[in-house]
Subunit: 339 residues, 2 copies
């Protein structure tokens, strides 16, 4: 039976003290090489396995890094997590995550639970937590990084880009293409505050240029290609003369493309479809889709690195606000940059 073997057992079997055994296992100094070897050998024989819980309690810190995301079905957050993984690979840190489902209440409980693990750092999505959650984040001694959004004030550190500007930028790009009749399709706008910001930026920019009438098709269901397809059909049925549609993300826009292909609507001649995220998939579509490329992976990596460097420079409290670049493209299949 493994599992019950404790460091004391190893120490006893090796004829040394717990302390020496501990040092030997960790590769700390003040132990002779042969003792290290003997202890490790015995540990292997006995099937000893360290106990992170005890170790963490003893030195008052864990190597856990908490990640709070709103959803996992959205590939974007998987990519953020990949970036985090990349950055902490080899550092011995371990990510643990929680999913809020865009629910502030659940987010609060999650953050609380995570902090009670005394994590080495916390990465949470967005800047729009409710006040309780915000307090927790600010009171936290562990470094906190809010990601994906820079429209607002961060509790500690922040890595992302302006969602509002992203929406505005796409509006400008579409206007520059000579489009006149704009529409909008969005999902989960009751919860997804970043999608709301993008829409607001989009509408604001259109208004500035004199485009007041912008029919919208919205839904509270979660984003999907199927939803995009259906909602595009509805929007076009009511407003057949639209020549540009902005979607709250690429998934919906892809659905729009599929609808147009089935209905033989020429894309982009008659109608430009614009999504958001710059998913790999859109670059392979048979028709051009406009999108905004965002580097989710880099955001994850930067966030994790911010936590790491905070640890390296103990005591420093530089707020850090990192804005990662985004790129609006009119045809995701080409690499040329518009605007």
């Amino acid at each position: 039976m493994h599992s019950k073997v404790t460091l004391a057992d190893v120490a006893a079997a090796a004829g040394v003290s717990k302390m020496t055994a501990s040092r030997a296992m960790r590769g700390a100094k003040d132990v002779s090489p042969k003792t290290v070897e003997r202890v490790r050998e015995i540990a292997a024989e006995l099937g000893y396995m360290g106990n992170h819980v005890a170790a963490s309690l003893a030195n008052n810190r864990t190597d856990l890094i908490g990640v709070v995301v709103p959803s996992l079905s959205n590939i974007v957050f998987s990519e953020v997590m990949s970036g985090i993984e990349d950055a902490i690979a080899g550092t011995g840190l371990q990510p643990f995550f929680g999913v809020t489902g865009y629910d502030p209440e659940r987010e609060y409980l999650l953050v609380r639970q995570m902090l009670s693990w005394r994590p080495a750092g916390l990465i949470v999505t967005g800047l729009d937590q409710d006040s309780q959650t915000r307090e927790l984040l600010q009171a936290s001694t562990a470094p906190v990084v809010q990601i994906m959004d820079t429209d607002g004030t961060a509790a500690d550190m922040c890595v992302g880009f302006s969602q509002r500007e992203a929406g505005a930028g796409m509006a400008d790009l579409l206007i520059a293409q000579g489009r006149k009749q704009f529409g909008y399709v969005g999902c989960a706008l009751d919860r997804d505050t970043r999608a709301i910001k993008r829409r607001d930026g989009y509408l604001e920019s259109l208004t500035k240029s004199g485009f007041i009438q912008v029919p919208q098709q919205t839904s509270t269901e979660r984003s999907s290609v199927a939803a995009g397809k259906a909602m595009t059909a509805e929007l076009l049925a009511a407003h057949p003369t639209l020549d540009a549609i902005y979607y709250s993300n690429d998934d919906l826009a892809i659905g729009g493309v599929f609808h147009c292909m089935e209905q033989s609507i020429p894309v982009p001649e008659q109608l430009i479809l614009a999504g958001f995220n710059g998913l790999d998939l859109v670059a392979s579509l048979p028709a051009p889709v406009a999108t905004t490329r965002t580097s989710r992976r880099d955001i994850g990596t930067a966030a994790a690195k911010a936590i790491l460097s905070r640890h390296a420079a103990e005591g420093s409290n530089d707020p850090l606000l990192k804005t990662v670049p985004i790129q609006h493209v009119i045809d995701a299949r080409r690499t040329f940059t518009a605007k």
Copy 2:
């Protein structure tokens, strides 16, 4: 300053013992309602936040549940994690994950690190760990669930389906459609053991029916729509008469569809494309794609539930092998079942 407030502080401020404070905070019995209220009030005032690390050490168990997946860029594993999340929502359990990148060495280290957290359970992908890792899994006192695959023997519990039969089933379906010239396109076959099993099942079934010549296009890069598109082009260039192609997953098959659309190859009249997973996306494609629907979410849920029930029934060690149904469809857009 929060963060340094300990249970002892709360107890002192409330004029009770640590033990009573502990009970009050946890809602354990043997405390009068008014004491509970007072303690909680003071805890809130002081900004007390529990310490999971200490609690876990004291009662020798954590509420962490480890999840080991090969990749996050594959939406399939996100969905599995969603399923896990669903099942443990409200139980106070916390998932923490690690990504192997299909690397056995990394997998070993990950499992080791996870077990040293004394998790409430461990969910790992696949049955083909290397021998060291397998030993760890078998020696673990924490319940272990291996998921996604049933072709092999489980270390403890297992939830999934036969990858081999999945491949064979699709071969049979394509044969039943009257196809004669079969091809195969796959990625990451040097690492993804489940994809290998599917291919083997596919080829074996074809061989049984007398189809010996099956040209293959493979690559070690990771699966993507773009890769599927490119590899389809290459395969068809060399073998233009193929009338059915099986891909190692839906991503590649989607790429195949896009290639065919651009080249005006009639799908499915001239060429049937078959993927694997039954992603939502394929149901929205403008052309039919054959696929095998798998319930990733259910697998995650079932795995998490298996761990929960193991905890409920302390001591029981039912091995549990749960096979979840899969469904081969010739056109993902329809719900009718083939075969």
